[in-house]
Symmetry: C2
Subunit: 351 residues, 2 copies
């Protein structure tokens, strides 16, 4: 299922780079281990990756797959996605062009490349590979709560909505733990996390009966030779479409500590598009904690705010307000660092 | 996907009839519309269906598929299942024998008949059909909470564990509603319910991201020309393997009322096999109600106890104890009738 971590990537984000649906492109740019040689978005050529996203990266933004070929990529990585994870029909010519011109293609969509006979035929003719990182392994178990008995301290990011920074927060805390000398692992549970870490299972793609079992397996694999395991969260218990995935992951991973993530400017779930208000964080905490009571009791120990797009002062105010509301440490880990989040986890482990 | 409701069934329950894993066999016998002409279990021949299950049914228990052929079945229905839903290898010769002898085969397992090339080949040669009722439809939506806006009153059964009587309770209340002159629909969300009702989606087989969307679609399809919709529940919010399915269904179906189901003799989840205690029902109610708060607030309005195997007096005591603990109406709908459950739903609708 997985591609070389030295493969040179061209990231395909046509029409969407830096907008609401390019989470995968930005995650791979910020945290991925593969070199990125170009970003493809014909609507943003002339600008730099740093101008658009704040991420330091020298790769140029180019107008087409053909233009990206000049920078000698090994693979085209599809960097945008919508809620349903379908592959837009208008991408198809670009993907076929990439295959014919010597690129592998990497996708995290629900629609698998390998299920499209045209892609399969073209890849075979061009001797290229199709990578569907969201395809779960066969033969997953039904979860049985086993992860509660492992030696590592398990921490899960949870959220007020999807796309609020759960993966980013888990990655940033993992970096702090390693910097402080602990043995620590990030566990990827979504397509972007898998692209960054080179392993994992996209829990939202797993059949309902086996979601918790998949999370359990991921935790058991790393929990015997690490001090800390930082599991990437998914969705939200108050999102009407994704809450089941969130709870399966929560009960499969059996964390002792949770970090509650929220995008400071967001007021309703579904990226402000659904008619369900996000409550005060202090009201959301008991929702998460109560769902752990009968499997393995866990506490929300800190707040991670995504303040992207806010002024420094507004971001600082939002962080202080979250701390005041919840009585917990709060930060934006990208803007202000993740140390206080890890401190809260350490304190919880010490109890 | 679906077979004729006049097809004559032979139910395959080898070694398991009336035991813990023959829920499907018993559900189809008790509530199904298809005529059942034989039950196959070589370990129970000589006894009657009624002796073993309490269900009135004249179909004989026979020792083999060959013996069942004498009663001219049209199809073999696989009537037992384990948590993972695999098809045991030792069933394979019997299934092939059935196909070769003119029977269609009906399965509700996670392992699809149509994914086994031997079954596919044999069915084609014998001009017989394979029915996998657990296979979900393609192109399901992501749930968005739409079911909260429909005119029908929606009631979901929820539980302390899997296999506690949620489907049975929904079916029994639906019967009461119809008897009292209301327009009412049972909505099947699991393999046995689908076999009984002839339609539905097995939510536990749906990919995580689309579970709630599948439940939402099922409710929207029937909620505009019925007074009541009784949605079959799945799993339990406190089962570490299935809780995600339960929550996806809860948020997709958007009930106004829930009936909490429990098997009176059970003390731990996973049919007493997992190390997680089932709390008092009065402690379980707020778990379910709190998870509805941010989507569509709902109340648990009554308790449905499964008292199968208990003496009449013990069953009566258990019902009274549940009512005392929760302050809600309680009954075993199979043993004592479901009227008080429907009364509680009517009262909730009247509020």
């Amino acid at each position: 299922m997985y591609y070389s971590q030295s493969a040179r990537l061209a990231i395909y984000a046509e029409g969407e780079f830096g907008k609401g649906h390019s989470k995968t492109a930005e995650g791979v740019l910020r945290y991925g281990q593969n070199p990125v040689v170009a970003v493809i978005d014909s609507t943003e050529t002339g600008k730099s990756v740093e101008q658009i996203t704040g991420i330091t990266c020298q790769a140029p933004i180019v107008a087409s797959v053909a233009d990206a070929l000049k920078f000698q990529p090994d693979a085209l990585l599809l960097g945008t996605a919508w809620a349903e994870g379908h592959l837009p029909a208008e991408w198809k010519p670009d993907i076929l062009f990439a295959l014919r011109n010597g690129l592998d293609v990497i996708s995290g969509l629900h629609d698998f490349l390998a299920d499209d006979p045209d892609f399969v035929k073209c890849a075979a003719e061009s001797k290229r590979q199709l990578f569907d990182v969201r395809r779960p392994p066969d033969q997953l178990p039904v979860g049985c709560g086993k992860a509660k008995d492992v030696p590592a301290f398990i921490c899960l990011t949870v959220g007020s909505d999807g796309s609020v920074g759960k993966m980013t927060t888990s990655l940033e805390i993992d970096k702090v733990a390693k910097r402080r000398g602990f043995k620590s692992r990030f566990v990827a549970t979504g397509q972007t996390g898998i692209m960054i870490d080179g392993q994992g299972i996209a829990i939202d793609r797993v059949i309902g009966d086996f979601m918790a079992g998949a999370a359990e397996r991921l935790v058991l694999e790393v929990a015997y030779d690490n001090d800390f395991v930082f599991v990437e969260g998914q969705g939200s218990l108050i999102h009407p479409g994704w809450s089941g995935v969130t709870l399966g992951l929560l009960h499969g991973a059996c964390p002792q500590a949770m970090i509650l993530c929220h995008t400071a400017t967001r007021t309703r779930v579904g990226k402000d598009k659904l008619p369900f208000a996000i409550p005060k964080l202090s009201l959301l905490i008991p929702i998460y904690e109560s769902m752990t009571d009968f499997i393995r009791p866990a506490k929300v120990v800190a707040i991670s705010l995504n303040t992207h797009g806010m002024s420094e002062q507004a971001a600082q105010n939002a962080v202080e307000e979250a701390a005041r509301d919840t009585g917990l440490p709060a930060t934006d880990p990208v803007r202000f660092g993740a140390d206080c989040l890890f401190d809260a986890i350490l304190a919880m482990r010490g109890r």
